[in-house]
């Protein structure tokens, strides 16, 4: 299944790296990633990922366990 995830994150290398490592831990493959600066200390990312069905929700929630991420939203799921 493919899905589109929006992530609002703090502007740090660690936040970007941790996001990618969490994608890896979920055994998700990357279709595309766009990251933009949206404020002095803020980035936003849109990730198109592919993997097991349950991993979309898992990733959206998992990232919020870490204090690098302000919000996440699942935008679209394609079966």
């Amino acid at each position: 299944m493919k899905f589109l995830l929006f992530v609002e994150l703090v502007n740090s290398h660690d936040a970007v790296a941790k996001m990618m490592l969490t994608v890896k831990q979920g055994n998700l493959s990357i279709e595309s990633i766009n990251i933009h600066k949206t404020g002095d200390d803020k980035l936003s990312a849109i990730l198109m990922l592919e993997g097991e069905e349950n991993k979309a929700d898992w990733l959206a929630h998992k990232l919020l366990n870490f204090p690098y991420y302000k919000s996440t939203a699942l935008l679209k799921q394609i079966k």
């Binding site: 660690d14 929700d57 898992w58 929630h61 204090p67």
Partner: protein
């Protein structure tokens, strides 16, 4: 004031009592500041042990344990302990030194990107380059280590940052991202869960480590007693409820109690409390999901559906959610009489124990008997830690935890060498209680230098070594799954563990009988003294029950010659 002094001061204000660590070039200003502080710094002999000691302290004290290492190897040595803390959700704060800012990125002496190295397995890690952020970052890291689902954090401080002047301000709150509100119990979902409980004929409670951290034992027992349901625990959940309670059947999973495995097999509803439902606990998730419904309670909502798709998910702190669930369940379910399923399964468990004891022909010492005798002999609030391997599984099977939070083991990462330093940290947290490390000879040899700290700081730990001169669990797998093609699993007889312990300043004895063992241990208990006991156990022991990897709990292998088939069939036909 130097940033290092201000950091130590805010640590004092937060109630930090101990720093387990080793000084070096880059964290030296931190140690210089500790010299003028009430915080006790414990000079460990390896940073991995410092992290494990911080874990042991944290789990007993129920607040973050702090460890420290210098830049480069000092920091990288912490990693195993930090990943262990991450896997078992232990609140640990690591403070590492870093090379000065001007040298960062130059491959300077003892430079390592420790933040980059730990990122996959840590809640939060940061290199603090702005000295004015040091106090705020400590408060953030300290708070988030224990907040929500606990875990490790790391503050990496360049040496020159430690030395810079900062403004003193100790009235600092964690920033919003480090203090998110906890998920609250959702009443509609709780009502649905209560309805599932009312409809279930054979509900079982499966209790994980989250229940220990939440101290949910009272609520778990209240629910189980009301609906007459057996309770099983995961490795990390052991000790959440007293194991001498008639409804508590022990640990479930690959090396679980047979009665606990069968309870899950028999169930039509499993109420999972603070567990990530790992393969070691439940076997293949697809089998677990067949023929039963699940209610999943967890503070970490990302756990819902990760391994098992729950029928109803209940986000929130286990104790708070259970308190609500008990009330709603009582409103629609009358108190059920004695649990016949639990009673029958306990009989199976008792038969297993009787069979094991009958196998003792007095010629060699058996690990299970050692555990069984010790658990009956020591005070009920004894804190027990373990290494990893066969002895850990024997302890899981035969040690009876009667007080919550008295079981310290490496359940997720399975870190050999965890036992002794974790026990040492636990003793620092609870100096008036008996702390016993049940260790394998393989695990013991990985972190035995902690004995030097046991002697130096007069924090007496009793270590019982199940000495089979081998990596017993690896040998067991080679025996069972590699046609007995043993390779690199047997140790020589030359290493004298008694002399080794004595060399570190801890009295030691090798025992040849159960009587000698009990006499030695009980003397150490009475006098609150450090002791290492080398127990030569049967070198051919295999740990059973065992569910082969990838198989369902029903396929549990029992000790050879132990035939429970009649009783298992009976269990299969039982109803509550």
């Amino acid at each position: 004031m130097r940033a290092a002094d201000a950091l130590v001061k805010i640590m004092e204000k937060k109630g930090v009592e101990y720093v387990f660590g080793i000084p070096g070039g880059a964290n030296m200003p931190f140690y210089d500041a500790l010299r003028d502080s009430d915080i006790k710094s414990i000079l460990m002999r390896h940073e991995q042990q410092a992290a494990h000691a911080a874990e042991g302290y944290a789990r007993v004290k129920r607040r973050p344990g702090v460890c420290s290492g210098t830049s480069g190897p000092g920091a990288t040595n912490l990693i195993t302990g930090l990943v262990d803390a991450y896997m078992d959700s232990s609140p640990v704060v690591a403070i590492t030194g870093q090379v000065v800012r001007a040298f960062m990125g130059t491959d300077a002496f003892q430079e390592a990107d420790i933040v980059g190295l730990v990122l996959p397995h840590i809640k939060y890690a940061v290199t603090v380059k702005d000295p004015q952020r040091v106090l705020q970052e400590f408060v953030n890291a300290y708070n988030i280590a224990a907040h929500h689902r606990p875990g490790p954090t790391l503050l990496d401080l360049p040496r020159d940052v430690f030395m810079e002047e900062v403004e003193e301000n100790y009235d600092i709150q964690p920033e919003p991202l480090f203090n998110r509100p906890l998920p609250e119990p959702d009443i509609e979902s709780i009502k649905q869960a209560a309805k599932l409980i009312a409809e279930a004929e054979k509900p079982v409670l499966l209790v994980g480590g989250g229940a220990v951290y939440s101290m949910a034992g009272k609520e778990i027992l209240e629910l189980a007693e009301h609906i007459a349901a057996p309770i099983v625990t995961t490795t990390m959940g052991k000790g959440a409820v007293p194991e001498d309670h008639p409804l508590v059947l022990g640990v479930v999973g690959m090396h679980g109690r047979v009665e606990a495995d069968l309870a899950i097999v028999e169930s039509d509803l499993v109420i999972c409390i603070g567990s990530r439902l790992s393969d070691r606990a439940i076997g293949p998730a697809k089998e677990f999901e067949k023929n039963r419904k699940t209610i999943h309670i967890d503070i970490d909502v990302s756990e819902f559906g990760k391994n098992v798709r729950p029928t109803v998910s209940l986000p929130g702190d286990a104790r708070k959610v259970l308190a609500e669930l008990v009330e709603y369940t009582k409103a629609i379910v009358a108190r059920r009489p004695e649990c016949q399923l639990a009673k029958k399964l306990r009989e199976i468990g008792e038969a297993y124990e009787e069979y094991m004891m009958a196998m003792d022909d007095g010629r060699v010492l058996h690990s299970w008997k050692v555990v069984s005798l010790l658990t009956d002999a020591v005070p009920p609030d004894t804190i027990v830690s373990t290494g990893v391997g066969q002895h850990q599984m024997w302890a899981q099977l035969f040690w009876k935890n009667r007080t919550p939070g008295t079981w310290l083991t490496s359940g997720g990462l399975g870190t050999m060498g965890f036992g002794l330093p974790a026990a040492f940290g636990a003793k620092a947290a609870a100096p008036d209680r008996i702390v016993m490390n049940l260790d394998g000879d393989g695990s013991f040899l990985m972190t035995c230098q902690t004995l030097a700290c046991v002697a130096d700081y007069e924090l007496p730990v009793i270590t019982v070594i199940f000495d089979n001169r081998s990596l017993g669990m690896v040998k067991q797998w080679q025996d069972m799954f590699y046609n007995k093609r043993y390779k690199d699993v047997e140790y020589n007889d030359r290493t004298d563990l008694v002399k080794l312990s004595e060399a570190f300043g801890v009295e030691a004895v090798r025992v040849e009988s159960y009587d000698e063992l009990l006499k030695a241990v009980m003397r150490a208990v009475r006098t609150n003294s450090a002791l290492t006991v080398d127990v030569p156990v049967d070198t051919g022991e295999l740990v059973f029950p065992m569910v082969p990897p990838g198989r369902w709990l029903e396929d549990v292998k029992l000790p050879p010659g132990f035939d429970l088939s009649q009783r298992i069939v009976a269990a299969g036909r039982m109803s509550t």
